[in-house]
Amino acid sequence: MPPPTLDSILEERRSQPQQLIEVLQDVQEHYGYISEESMKTVSNELGVLLMDVYSVASFYKAFALKPRGKNVIRICTGTACHVRGAKLILNQAVGQLGIKPSEVSDDGLFTIEHVNCLGACALGPVVTDNGHYHDHMSPGKLRKLIKSLYKADTEEISND
């Protein structure tokens, strides 16, 4: 299904400045990031200064201002995951993919993000790939997960 247009996201919210965060949430959800173009449109349609749109978009962690990789690996670094070795998991992802958190791998396939708590603390360390939860992660399990995502994507490309 194609993502909803910016026009439909803005529907019934035009000229309502208080809807700014909700609109940006939807843009982020459907487009993966918030582009300069979409910020300009949102600014015009809601009646919020572009400066304020940028200030909100850059303040909240939920919003990315650059495109992210096809697969977003989120590593929970909340306290419960931290004491159970979340750092190892982050080290594994960084070492394996050769990118730092928030960067995109050269092939455009991966972005690593660390998140302060995913709320599944009893199952730590927790990782999500594109929203799918993985509990009790170890460096080895993450290595396999990344490999399988990579394999699925590269096979998809060669089949095209």
């Binding site: 080290n91 708590c117 603390c121 080895g140």
Partner: protein, 617 residues
């Protein structure tokens, strides 16, 4: 669908639902919380439903997917009623056996029963499990009774009857008095008396007032609000409605973390259902009370858990706190009087109204009434959500409910209250879970996170972890928080890297108390707690890092080296394959070694080695 426009139609619907329920022979209650979803419970639900259909039992046996049961470590888990049979770690392949043996023949499937890690014995019913037995599950127990996406389920168990009582039997000022008398205090961290907040908001001048449910649970290591909102959203909505009636609000908001997609979804469904049933909207149940709720998704900023920052965020702005010269009960959302309470606080309201304030006040300790949900996590055998009467000791929570340290290791500390709280050492575990007592000891109940730390945890690293978290989350508006946290982190980093000096300890204490006294909001005021509490109880660990340049727990990267014990190395090659930095050398059948020039001290090799051959010094 029956619209419940009057009390009569609501009660008629309740009667009908209960009558229908009597036809059900047994109920399979499947936990569908985020934790169990991570353990793929949906596949089990599908398999069980399919099996019931194939065996012709689909009509007489009900499968109810509910919110979190609390014992996340054991997921996917199921309780079968009647009989209270508890099955854990269920896979879709077990569906046939469960239906054939337990449902048809009344026999227990032994390999799905829970084994108590302390006694080593198998336990058949949920009530017998030590993890549950020592708890007082008032709020959490309700999760099992309802499918969060079914308002009918909630009505069937007596839902919205506290609202009926409020609207038709109790005057708003009496509702406020009832909450005051109950002794309910805010569950989000502050512990402020809820009744006083409501009274001040009710008395504040103005016709336009708001209620807000704070579900921006940002404390890492705490997830009770997610669980309550996700598992029983109508309970929270009912609490908010009672609060709105008491203070005179017509509009409410639920501000929920976007990282909790299931909570967002279930709350949306619940609000929609309540509107369809006429329980939200104009002239609710034929009364003069009109009220509606909207949902707002948080943007992932920890500071938005603070009331004024949350309100700025709800207004569509940057979530920066503002000075509280005028409290939010007078000057809140859109500068109107606003009552903001946390999810767990709202969830406690309906039962206080139904059972009376003295019922609530009879539970708990002198200054902290009722029960509190705690998130028990970290290096402990039984992890999950735990609900105990306030005043219960940490010992009871950690040992009787939690079963003690994982892998038989001893427990060094418990971190309570999230980044605003502190670390308490094992000799303080006789302290009660009580707002005032924990604050006196330099920590706090906070939202109820309880992270257990074993001997393998470095307390200086823990302080560094929280400072890094807070530096990242500080909104930067006030100088003490923005600069103070930066400076404290610099010092603690020096110490963890072996560059610390003895004078830095007193400097840390001085900085910490200055930040506490001068920061603008709760985030900054409490930011020094993790540092100050670890300095108070684990000072010798700081001193060892400084004088001996050693990390006793073997955690701080700059102070440790990894080596391979040739006696233990079996030349299996796992570490070599695992090392992302290619720092391990060795061929087949040859003892491996670490190239210290390439080693980044990430620790991955050690976690992968099955023979304990990699040592850290």
């Amino acid at each position: 669908m029956t619209k419940t426009k009057t009390i009569k139609s609501l009660e008629a619907l309740r009667k009908k639902l209960l009558k229908d329920r009597k036809k059900i022979q047994s109920t399979l209650i499947m936990c569908g919380g985020t934790g169990c979803q991570a353990s793929h419970c949906q596949e089990v639900v599908d398999a069980v439903k399919n099996e019931l259909f194939e065996q012709g039992l689909a009509k007489s046996v009900c499968v109810r997917t509910t919110g979190c049961h609390g014992f996340c470590e054991q997921g996917p888990l199921m309780v079968i009623e009647p009989g209270n049979i508890f099955y854990c770690h269920i896979s879709p392949d077990d569906a046939h056996e469960i239906v054939t043996k337990t449902i048809r023949e009344g026999e227990v499937v032994e390999h799905l029963l829970y084994t108590d890690p302390v006694s080593g014995k198998q336990v058949q019913t949920e009530l017998e499990i030590p993890f549950y037995r020592a708890q007082e599950r008032h709020l959490l127990a309700q999760n099992r009774l309802v499918d969060p996406c079914s308002i009918e389920d909630y009505i069937a168990i007596g839902g919205y009857s506290a609202l009926v009582k409020t609207l038709f039997e109790i005057a708003p000022e009496s509702v406020v008095r009832e909450i005051k008398d109950s002794g309910l205090r805010g569950r989000g961290g502050g512990g402020f008396p809820t009744g006083r907040k409501w009274a001040a908001c009710r008395e504040a001048p103005g016709d336009e007032k708001y209620v807000i449910c704070n579900a921006d649970e940002g404390d890492p290591g705490a997830y009770m609000d997610r669980c309550v909102l996700e598992g029983n959203p109508h309970l929270v909505i009912e609490g908010m409605m009672i609060g709105a009636w008491a203070i005179g609000a017509r509009q409410g908001y639920v501000y929920v973390r976007n990282e909790y997609p299931l909570a967002v979804k279930n709350t949306r469904v619940a609000i929609q259902q309540a509107r369809e049933f006429g329980l939200l909207g104009d002239n609710i149940l034929g009364s003069s009370f009109s009220f509606d709720i909207d949902i707002a998704r948080g943007g992932g900023a920890f500071v938005c858990g603070e009331s004024t920052a949350l309100m700025s965020s709800l207004e569509g702005k940057v979530g920066e706190p503002r000075p509280k010269d005028l409290h939010t009960v007078v000057d809140g959302l859109w500068h109107k009087p606003t009552t903001l309470n946390n999810v767990e606080t709202w969830a406690n309201v309906p039962s206080i109204i139904l059972n009376g304030s003295s019922w609530f006040a009879s539970k708990g300790s002198k200054g902290s009434k009722g029960t509190k949900i705690l998130a028990l996590t970290g290096h402990i055998k039984n992890t999950g959500l735990v609900e105990v009467a306030m005043g219960t000791t940490i010992n009871t929570v950690v040992f009787d409910i939690g079963g003690g340290g994982s892998n038989g290791n001893s427990i060094k500390a418990v971190q309570t209250g999230g980044p605003s709280g502190g670390c308490l050492p094992a000799d303080k575990f006789d302290l009660p879970v009580d707002f005032d007592e924990l604050a006196k000891a330099g920590s706090m109940v906070g939202s109820g996170g309880m992270v257990v730390m074993g001997e393998e945890t470095c307390m200086v690293d823990v302080a560094k972890y929280f400072l890094t978290f807070l530096q990242d989350e500080s909104c930067g508006k006030c100088v003490p928080c923005r600069m103070g946290i930066d400076r404290m982190l610099e010092i603690v980093t020096d110490i963890t890297e072996g560059n610390g000096t003895p004078q830095q300890i007193s400097l840390l204490e001085e900085l910490g108390s200055t930040v506490s006294e001068t920061a603008l909001c709760g985030l900054g005021k409490t930011a020094a707690n993790p540092v100050l509490s670890t300095l108070r109880y684990f000072r010798e660990e700081y001193e060892k890092h400084i004088s001996e340049k050693k990390c006793p727990a073997g955690v701080c990267q700059a102070l440790i080296t990894y080596t391979i014990d040739p006696e233990k190395c079996t030349c299996c090659g796992i570490c070599k394959r695992a090392c992302p930095h290619k720092a391990i050398i060795g061929k087949k059948k040859q003892v491996h070694a670490i190239n210290l020039d390439l080693c980044q001290k990430c620790g991955i090799c050690r976690s992968e080695c099955e023979f304990d051959a990699i040592q850290v010094k």
